[in-house]
């Protein structure tokens, strides 16, 4: 059932020293066609009912993720559970303001997730920089760097707000609108340029498979 679309040209990986280029895959990301009709609806239902969170604490808001596992909020009942590796996760929760250093890790981890993949950005800082809007070291809008499906505003948003955000994400997925991965691939050059603009010590391949 592989996609018939033509493969894009390999990436240049100019950020890497020549002797290291052989160590990384240089394939460019591409868009993947969704299945059709009811089948895709069924699969989207399954995706929405099995949200595996990438539990990387990328900002101060990550502290609000922890209560979700506790008996009080119990995200498991919504089919949400944490996963320690991006390979197996489907939802990336951006936990608040992202410093430039963290952004590099965010990009890498996001690219390493298997699609379809979704991003939930929590906290005002991910939307416009929040109280750090004029900081030299934080990025202001996370969706200039990776596609975001759901923003959860607040500083900090309560766990209840997070749960509400996840419900919103489920709705989006079920509606078939959770196509961030394809969007990223489609606008890859734009995203990459934005990323490289702020990340100066680029020592990764252009796309982290």
């Amino acid at each position: 059932m592989s996609d018939k679309r033509l493969k894009p040209a390999p990436l240049a990986n100019e950020g890497l020293p020549p002797e290291e280029r052989g160590l990384f895959c240089d394939a460019a990301p591409r868009e993947y066609e969704p299945a059709r009709g009811a089948w895709e609806n069924f699969l989207n239902w399954a995706r929405s009912e099995s949200l595996w969170l990438l539990g990387f604490g990328t900002g101060c808001g990550a502290i609000e993720l922890r209560p979700l596992m506790t008996s009080r909020f119990d995200m498991y009942r919504y089919g949400i559970q944490p996963r320690p590796t991006p390979r197996q996760s489907s939802v990336f929760v951006i936990g608040g303001y992202a410093s430039v250093k963290t952004l590099k890790r965010i990009v890498r981890s996001y690219e390493q997730m298997m699609g379809p993949k979704f991003v939930v950005a929590l906290g005002s800082c991910t939307i416009n920089g929040g109280m750090y809007w004029d900081s030299y070291n934080t990025i202001k809008r996370i969706d200039q760097y990776i596609p975001v499906d759901v923003y959860i505003a607040g500083c900090m948003p309560r766990p209840e707000a997070l749960l509400a955000g996840f419900q919103e994400l489920k709705r989006i997925i079920k509606a078939g609108d959770g196509e961030g991965q394809n969007e990223y691939a489609r606008n890859f050059d734009w995203y990459k340029a934005n990323q490289k603009k702020v990340i100066k010590d680029w020592n990764m391949p252009d796309y982290n498979w």
Binding site: Y32, P34, L43, A46, R47, E49, S50, W52, T70, S71, D74, Y76, R77, G79, Q81, P84, T85, R87, Q88, S90, M114, G115, P116, Q181, W209
Partner: protein, 304 residues
């Protein structure tokens, strides 16, 4: 009446279908029981199904090479194969599986088939955490195999056979004839070994989630992960059926099988919820200590 070969294959598929669904539901319900222990509601019982569907429905996947792709194949084949070599329900033609391929020893060694293949696949992933996890897992495995082997030997001695069918047959006729009643020490040793075998607490350092993000399968995703999840259900089921046959009188029908295996697995969850984690060297020393002595005692009892 002896079924034809085609019939046997058909029965095998039925048997496999039953154990797969049962295994998935068992995992789901145990997760729910764990949640109750922690004061939560917990995930739906059918959550494992959804997870597998989702994993299989991933639109892309990565692989590190042939062996990486074959790892889950080995793993799943190991799980199914193990089940196939165990008669699941005593006296049932449908659930006899292919247990005429070999006796208890075949089952005990076929368990390694999937583990070995998985370890190799994870190894080709090139991730050091995979290798660390495998090294821990293998190290623990050598240790918990000792009490397990001793209790199996006790059973073999007691019933004078290694044929699983014969062992079950010898336990028919009421609770007093179960190994649990006739040689409780063997059961104790085997159950402790089972804790290690299924990787629950306190023997879960193999898949320490944050230290070595879940160990061996850290690079697995998409359908490859889905196969591993499927295998978890089947393999668990197979091991539980094996334990039931060896120590708890086997089962003459599906209901008895479900109840017994559920209870055996419950012991695991019970202990797992109550204990923290051992380091690898600690668990090795643990298994080679008291459980091994219990195992030796059980052999002595069986000989007497």
């Amino acid at each position: 009446m002896e079924p034809t070969l085609l019939g046997r294959i058909g029965y095998a598929f039925v048997s496999l279908f039953v154990i797969t669904n049962y295994g998935l539901l068992l995992i789901g319900s145990m997760a729910r029981i764990s949640a109750k222990v922690q004061g939560r509601v917990g995930q739906p019982v059918w959550q494992p199904y959804i997870d597998i569907i989702k994993s299989s429905a991933k639109r892309n996947a990565i692989g590190h090479g042939v062996m990486f792709y074959l790892g889950p194949v080995f793993r799943l084949a190991g799980g199914i194969g193990t089940y196939m070599f165990i008669p699941a329900v005593f006296g049932s033609v449908v659930f006899r599986n292919f247990s005429d391929s070999g006796d208890l020893l075949l089952v005990m060694y076929f368990i390694f088939f999937g583990q070995l293949g998985m370890a190799l696949g994870a190894g080709e992933g090139g991730h050091p955490y995979s290798a660390i996890g495998v090294s821990r897992g293998l190290a623990q495995m050598t240790a918990f195999e000792v009490p397990f082997a001793l209790s199996v030997i006790a059973v073999a001695v007691q019933y004078g056979t290694l044929d699983i069918n014969a062992i079950v047959a010898a336990q028919q006729g009421g609770f007093a004839r179960w190994t649990l009643a006739t040689n409780p020490l063997a059961v104790v040793a085997a159950i402790i070994a089972f804790l290690g075998m299924s990787g629950h607490n306190p023997f879960s350092v193999v898949i320490a989630p944050q230290e070595i993000p879940i160990g061996p399968p850290t690079e697995y995703q998409s359908n490859l992960l889905g196969m591993l999840q499927t295998n978890r259900a089947i393999f668990n089921g197979a091991k539980l059926v094996l334990y039931m046959n060896l120590f708890f009188g086997g089962a003459t029908n599906i209901v008895a099988m479900v109840i017994k295996t559920f209870l055996i697995y419950f012991v695991n969850v019970f202990v797992g919820q109550a204990f923290p984690r051992f380091r690898t060297d600690q668990s090795i020393r643990f298994f080679l200590g008291v459980p091994t002595l219990i195992g030796i005692a059980s052999v002595i009892i069986a000989v007497i």
